[in-house]
């Protein structure tokens, strides 16, 4: 579903954010990208979203080489990839319903489709009774649920999450992770950058450890702590 082949990203000024990274992520997998701040987790997410171009290497998303994708085709890539960020990225002047519907408006779906589909996904994230509220009227956890609902409303095959629980308390984080787990069970591939130990340990999914832009570890049913220990041993 996602393939990175010798991907390197060097920013202006020489900062190496990704260094010869190769990864293969299968359809339906749930993959954690873990590592300290500055290890390159977010950069990898952005590269997979073509938010930035690679310096070297190739990235395939859903069978397409996105490193050679012309700029005008980038929106089409993003429509097949849901994204969830730490800061929710909701439109402040739109209600919960409008925020979620926006992802479908972009696709040009008719209102007859948008209405029921939004209601369905709001039901899934447990916000059906808050559809008319604005983001500022919601708690952090609720805002993140809206963000998850927006990214999942058009049923993308892939979801990229960058620290989705970074601003949330542990209990709320668990709620969000349950939601992502549920979405993953529908067959959606999820790649999530995090440094939330408890979540990684509890989920027991594939863990890719990063340090200085390099992959230091790639384990099935991994744990966060072991990743740190193994990095220290190296």
């Amino acid at each position: 579903m996602i393939r990175l082949e010798n991907v390197t990203k060097v920013y202006e000024g020489g900062t190496v954010a990704a260094n010869d990274v190769s990864l293969d992520i299968q359809k339906g997998e749930f993959v954690f990208l873990v590592g300290a701040s500055g290890s390159g987790k977010s950069t990898l997410i952005r590269l997979m979203l073509r938010d930035e171009p690679v310096t070297r290497g190739k990235i395939w998303v859903a069978g397409k080489d996105i490193t050679t994708l012309p700029k005008w085709k980038i929106p089409y890539l993003r429509r097949s990839v849901g994204t969830v960020f730490q800061d929710y990225k909701l439109l402040p002047n739109k209600t919960v319903h409008e925020n979620v519907a926006f992802a479908l408006e972009v696709l040009g779906r008719p209102q007859s489709v948008i209405g029921p589909q939004v209601e369905q996904v709001l039901d899934l994230v447990g916000l059906e009774d808050k559809a008319g509220r604005y983001p500022r009227q919601l708690s952090g956890g609720e805002q993140q649920r809206v963000s998850v609902a927006r990214s999942f409303v058009n049923r993308p095959p892939i979801m990229l999450c960058d620290e989705p629980t970074g601003n949330l308390d542990p209990r709320t984080s668990v709620g969000i992770m349950k939601l992502l787990d549920r979405i993953n069970r529908t067959g959606t591939t999820i790649v999530m950058a995090t440094h939330d130990h408890a979540i990684v340990d509890a989920m027991k999914r594939r863990v890719v450890g990063l340090e200085g832009g390099r992959v230091t570890r790639d384990e099935e049913s991994g744990r966060y702590e072991r990743a740190i220990v193994s990095e220290e041993e190296e």
Binding site: S42, E52, T83, N93, V106, S151
Partner: protein, 307 residues
């Protein structure tokens, strides 16, 4: 269809959120197009009056009586045929002494003391309409050559020519003003749109994140500019129409100069100005968007937060 409604709704929301800046842009379009449209209307008033004053007759040749003082009996007809054959002449017709008397009676009907004259002293004349007003001096010269028959040549052509020159100057001024002020309105709209984008930059980045194409992002801003241009132009056309109508009403008794302009003129040119306003709005928006979307397309090369 739902997409069109959505994009239109987005534009309206943006207009509502930036009321003060939008008002500034509309005012700029209104002022510039009012001045340009006003100049056009003044020009039209001059044109209408120029035509009305002469009713197509540019030169009058008053003739000596035929069959007397050596003037042959058929001299009037010969001269009329000759004049009609001249290249400079569009049309010419003959006014005999009896028609001249009728005309005289009509002109001086309110001044009975002037009516006590011998009608036979009124001369016959040839009324000439020129193909172009510029030809008046050459026609006058040709008529003057026939001193035996032509008693006097009268022409208002010089005044008409001066009016036409003024009209031409106004045309150039109006056009220049329309261009300069139209451009400034466009720049103001571009600025408005740039401010609107700046105010909504987070929103735009979220739009791109969920897969909105550049055109999907652009269209509401283009609509916004178009609406600003259209409203400004509509107000300008309405203001000039209102002003001219009031002026015409106030000057109804002022018989020397007609101040009214036909509704057809207002309709035709009003439409042109509305289109111009809308186009200026769209162009201004494109101008305002171009730099932003170019920057947005140049994907990040600097180290972002949270590498």
């Amino acid at each position: 269809m739902s997409r069109v409604i959505f994009l239109f709704r987005e534009a309206m929301v943006s207009l509502r959120r930036n009321l003060l800046v939008v008002f500034g842009a509309i005012l700029a379009v209104f002022i510039s197009l009012s001045l340009a449209f006003g100049a056009l209307v003044v020009n039209e008033i001059l044109r209408v009056n120029t035509l009305a004053w002469q009713e197509g007759v540019h030169v009058i040749a008053f003739l000596n009586d035929a069959g007397a003082n050596g003037v042959p009996a058929d001299a009037h007809d010969s001269l009329l045929s000759e004049v009609r054959a001249w290249d400079e002449v569009e049309d010419a017709f003959y006014v005999d002494k009896s028609k001249a008397w009728i005309e005289y009676l009509e002109i001086f009907k309110d001044q009975p003391e002037l009516l006590e004259i011998d009608p036979s002293i009124l001369p016959a004349s040839i009324r000439i309409e020129l193909k172009d007003i510029e030809f008046h001096s050459s026609v006058q010269f040709r008529l003057d050559q026939n001193a035996l028959l032509v008693r006097q040549v009268s022409t208002a052509a010089e005044s008409i020519e001066q009016l036409q020159n003024l009209s031409s100057i106004l045309n150039v001024l109006g056009l220049g003003m329309a261009v300069v002020l139209g451009l400034s309105a466009m720049v103001l709209i571009a600025n408005t749109i740039r401010l609107a984008i700046y105010a909504r930059r987070d929103e735009v980045s979220i739009m791109k994140l969920v897969g909105a194409s550049n055109w999907f992002i652009r269209v509401p801003f283009l609509l916004e500019g178009m609406i600003e241009g259209l409203v400004g132009a509509a107000l300008a056309v309405f203001a000039v129409w209102l002003g001219t109508n009031n002026l015409a009403r106030a000057g109804q008794d002022f018989s020397l100069f007609r101040l009214d302009v036909s509704d057809q003129f207002f309709f035709q040119w009003g439409l042109v100005f509305l289109l111009f306003g809308a186009a200026a709005g769209v162009l201004g928006s494109l101008l305002g968007l171009s730099r932003y979307l170019r920057d947005a397309d140049d994907e990040g090369q600097n180290v972002p937060q949270g590498v």
